[in-house]
Symmetry: C2
Subunit: 345 residues, 2 copies
Amino acid sequence: MTDIHKPAERRRLSMVDVAAHAGVSVGTVSNVLNRPELVAERTLRRVRASIKALGFVPSAPARQLRGGSGRSVGVLVRDIGNPFFTEVLPGIENRLSQEQLLLVLCSSGDSAEKEAHYLQILEQHRVPGILITPAGPDISHLVELRRRGVGMVLLDRPGADAQLCAVAVDNVRGGELAGAHLLGLGHRRIAFLNGPHIVRQCADRREGLTRAVRAAGLDPDEVITEVTLPALTPREGEAALGRLPARKGPTALFCVNDTVALGALRGLERRGVRVPHDMAVMGYDDVEFAELLSPSLTSVRQPKHQLGQAAAELLLTDARGDVNHWHQEIVFQPELMVRASTVPQ
Amino acid sequence: MTDIHKPAERRRLSMVDVAAHAGVSVGTVSNVLNRPELVAERTLRRVRASIKALGFVPSAPARQLRGGSGRSVGVLVRDIGNPFFTEVLPGIENRLSQEQLLLVLCSSGDSAEKEAHYLQILEQHRVPGILITPAGPDISHLVELRRRGVGMVLLDRPGADAQLCAVAVDNVRGGELAGAHLLGLGHRRIAFLNGPHIVRQCADRREGLTRAVRAAGLDPDEVITEVTLPALTPREGEAALGRLPARKGPTALFCVNDTVALGALRGLERRGVRVPHDMAVMGYDDVEFAELLSPSLTSVRQPKHQLGQAAAELLLTDARGDVNHWHQEIVFQPELMVRASTVPQ
DNA sequence: TCGTTTGGCTGAAACATTTCAACCAGTAGA
DNA sequence: TCTACTGGTTGAAATGTTTCAGCCAAACGA
């Protein structure tokens, strides 16, 4: 039985075929591909012609086998669906593509198991580095992985005692900016729609808000009413309105992110509360649509593109494994974006 | 000169080391990893212990070298920044992770060169398949690539004479739904804020709108005023308002996507036009925040998650290279989401 | 006691590259 | 004429797996 009926299963071309076609050794073909300056002009042309004629495509796996670590880095996020990550992604891609590196995208869905599984596969692939927003608070397995030679950078999370490189945005400062803005507008009763404090970002933003109040010479306990939401969704943002103190109610709402602010805005509109006249509202993150809501939403901008770019940059140096590079933490400064939801236009 | 000062550069472990440690041959180690049922219980335990003790991680490149095509598929989109793609991505990831496949994400930025470059790299990596939204109208290079054995599925684009597999959403039907909805509400002068007709989606949606008008027994030329925008951004959406006919102006606005609708809504608010009382507005895509605008935006939903999932599914069968599988085009039906921007609540 | 079978394991070939020592034919210098 | 280079090329080793034919010892049947 011949295999005529399976023409698709013919062996893929290798450098041997090219070498034979061009009447030259495989070593030379390799040189044409990787160090053309070592090859005579005539030979160069001939070999290149053969490559083109045969439609030869070199095998990345074989290259990598010989040459050590590969040319694709892992990006392991908690949830691809989260707009925050998708807005960080372009920055990463941008920097990586400059270095001819491929981006392998993995989503842990906040499951430590799935995260571990992906890390294992990435290590098997001998990626030079991994950019990760860990699912859980424990990062010892990441430190271990780094010790084994895989570059590792934490994304949007502090570097935990500087055991790892990290990029993050200063959330305390962000909270401070928001607080100062609202206080500056004369608000003296501020509700903070926050997530649970075990989430680092939430705790930090609260801390910043508190500082701003103190800096204004006021008592945080009197000024701030914190409402803790079970989830940071629009629905919860709207529901939280019902839990605000009835008398001596707040005149301003600071939401821990824009998604929550969205729900709050909607809820206020339904109740006929006018924003910002009766209630000022602000969010955090400055996601793409914040500016486009009506009223447009005052928010604290996180430089997401730069965040991604810097993370990729850091990963590159970490993966290169310079001896004098130990660990580094890049902290970005957030920026206040004042819009119609706090300041009447 | 010894290399004591470079402990990090020690050779990576291979199966040889494991074999030596366990006092067994490499073949057996391989069997432990891939066909444990062939190995005696005792040996199995011993080898596994060695693997753990040494911290051995098998090399994916070496495996692939021997075994043919790899375990990561390419996803090549026009622009990672586009919310449409980021909302399709989870569906793809979801399906791929079930098959233990890695997702390599590439963004062509609408450049044919960059697209070609990425395709080349992906082919070098011997990916079993590629999911792509091509940058240009010509897809002959993709057909060629498929002929060489790389699975290929077009995303959000018809399969061009069925030369390739494709998944898409029925845009004509979507336009029809939108038109019927507005006509049903009694609108007889509809402005269509559209993109250029060379973009397939734009032409199709217009076609659908026209059909709806005809179906209602009306003259499309009288009912529809089409305004062509140079770019599908909120800014242009707002600017387009200035180009609407002054007298006998439209009573409804159909925007070719939600981003444009956003700009239109904002512009109308600035002019004091009340939505939907003075002007009904609807968008297309039903992106995440459409529901959360005020007023919430009526839109035509594209099943993005399913789109991604189906695309991945199709890619899997295409990559498997079943002989009896030729080409297939999956077309999803859009769904009308009626909200406050067209129907007073 | 002598084949025969069988479960386990081994050793080597194959996969497609890169890299490097060695080689070869000229050319230049002594 | 001999030696020393030099630019170009070669051939083979090395990389870490998988797979497969073959081998060995133990069990089994007669």
